[in-house]
Symmetry: C2
Subunit: 320 residues, 2 copies
């Protein structure tokens, strides 16, 4: 197994080597901009690592890994349009830097390009890789639809929320792991265990995101704290508070015109009172434990096992 | 060969049989709405007909034909958002009936679904079918980008315009024909000839669209006459007029606040003075002739040849 940073270098080199056309510039420049925007490359790294863990040269899965990263970035591009976001990774979103039409069209081009990349040197794995990839994509759209539906409701249950984040963000991590195993010619049951590791990792990751948005340190987190509270975003924290806060204080703060800092402080105080920070971390640890237990089922060498355990533990404790 | 209407029935039945999920309704209802919106189904019909012309059961290509129709409708959905259109085929566009986020997301789901459909029973044709389909898709995005770029320019040449419509609208007709031939296990050179027939048909089709928008009969055309003129759309007619109108009258009418009916009449008068209606029809006939000459290269029986000639002639003379 390689170091995490080595996998990142391999991925970044492959992305640099994509050589997208120069023109029309209005179509391809935003794609370049999106891909160079400093992502963590977690998904393609998982694909390469899973491939190597199963005993194959990780380069066997490089095109599929880049396909997944291209697809991930396409979802961010379109999500930013749908959410009307101004900033992504510290830079203007594509629809602010260019315009909305550009963000839609370049996103479409990224989606098609990702399926083109998926097919490169896929050989006899092509049909399976497409099934996994396309099935994952449809899950993601369903998750995004649920997320949008939830905005209009105050009665979203925790079960519904967990299903939404499973679809919207976690299955792609599962797909990345499963794709690496697939390209390594692994039997389906083993691919599925890798997939399950990835999904559980993803659930832990998203819950940690929910936590950091309210409780993170602005200096390390990379974006303003409390955004979810200000946007009345149905996170795990808010849904639990809506369910358990007998005083109705959180309910009244939603959609209110209380000043920003006051709203963040008051909502966070309710979260504290309900012990939600501790409880969300219990849940995160449970998903990490489940992820690690998936590794137990995998016929992988100790250094590979250590790699994925390390990744899981870091996800649970990261602060950005 | 079957009658045109028979192919349409086969396509419509296959689309009815798609059985997309009911939920999330916000994701899938707009897809159903878009597909039931009364399209002419020209592209999937071309795919089935090309397959049958090459001696195979047209059902060999049914999933790929539906994939192309799904893709075509996805492009209309996203184009309508980018163009801010209110109406499509006499009904509200998806972003008016629902909202813009829905139009973007359901469109994305349609694009992924089209690649899933493409793979159904594709067998050993999968890689080639994907190449043809994805290459066509990228061409279409490039064409749409050029179309958007042209809005800001007054110096668009006829050559640039023809290249834009070739990419934006014609290659998809070429792809439909080529895909039918591909699924019939036709040698590549024959697929290419079918593809070329489709592209030339498409060029004739788009030029006839340009003509009808200004000169069509509102009762038969199905939409208001003169929309392109009012929107200063760079059509073949406008580009020729900008190039040849020595008086500068057309140039001055672009972006002016002259009342709608007067603008349409004045611009049309310049077109008439320059003989553009006759000249555009010369050009359309030339592309039809080229399309038909592509048929000469094809090892297809007389009834198949007659089918495609008939289709080409009808495209050149249609009034809606």
């Amino acid at each position: 197994m390689k170091e995490f940073d080595e996998y990142i270098s391999i991925v970044n080199k492959a992305i640099e080597n994509l050589k997208l056309p120069a023109n029309p510039a209005g179509l391809y420049d935003p794609i370049r901009y999106t891909l160079e925007c400093g992502g963590k490359r977690l998904r393609p790294v998982l694909a390469l690592a899973a491939c190597e863990a199963m005993g194959k040269d990780p380069m066997t899965a490089i095109h599929q890994a880049v396909a997944i990263e291209m697809f991930h970035n396409f979802t961010l591009l379109h999500d930013d349009v749908m959410d009307n976001a101004d900033v992504r990774r510290g830079r203007p979103t594509v629809h602010r830097k260019w315009d909305e039409e550009t963000a839609i069209l370049s996103g479409d081009a990224m989606l098609t390009t990702s399926t083109m990349l998926l097919a490169i040197k896929a050989g006899e794995n092509l049909a399976s890789a497409l099934d996994l990839f396309n099935g994952t994509a449809m899950n993601i759209y369903e998750g995004q639809q649920l997320d949008m539906d939830f905005e209009k409701r105050l009665d979203v249950s925790i079960e519904e929320y967990m299903e939404m984040i499973r679809l919207k963000t976690s299955v792609l991590l599962g797909c990345a792991c499963g794709m690496g195993a697939l390209m390594a010619q692994t039997p389906f049951e083993t691919q599925l265990q890798f997939f399950n590791y990835g999904v559980n990792l993803g659930l832990a990751f998203q819950l940690q995101d929910d936590y950091l948005d309210t409780y993170g340190d602005p200096k390390t987190f990379g974006k303003a704290i409390g955004g979810d509270i200000l946007n009345d975003k149905k996170t795990w924290l808010l849904i639990m508070a809506l369910k358990e806060d007998q005083t109705g204080e959180v309910r009244n703060l939603i959609g209110s015109d209380v000043p920003a800092e006051e709203k963040i402080n008051k909502v966070r105080a309710v979260y504290d009172r309900l012990g939600l920070p501790e409880r969300i971390h219990e849940l995160i640890r449970a998903y990490i434990d489940t992820a690690i237990s998936c590794l137990d089922q995998l016929p992988i060498p100790p250094d590979a096992r250590a790699f994925f355990i390390d990744l899981a533990l870091k996800s649970a404790t990261r602060n950005k």
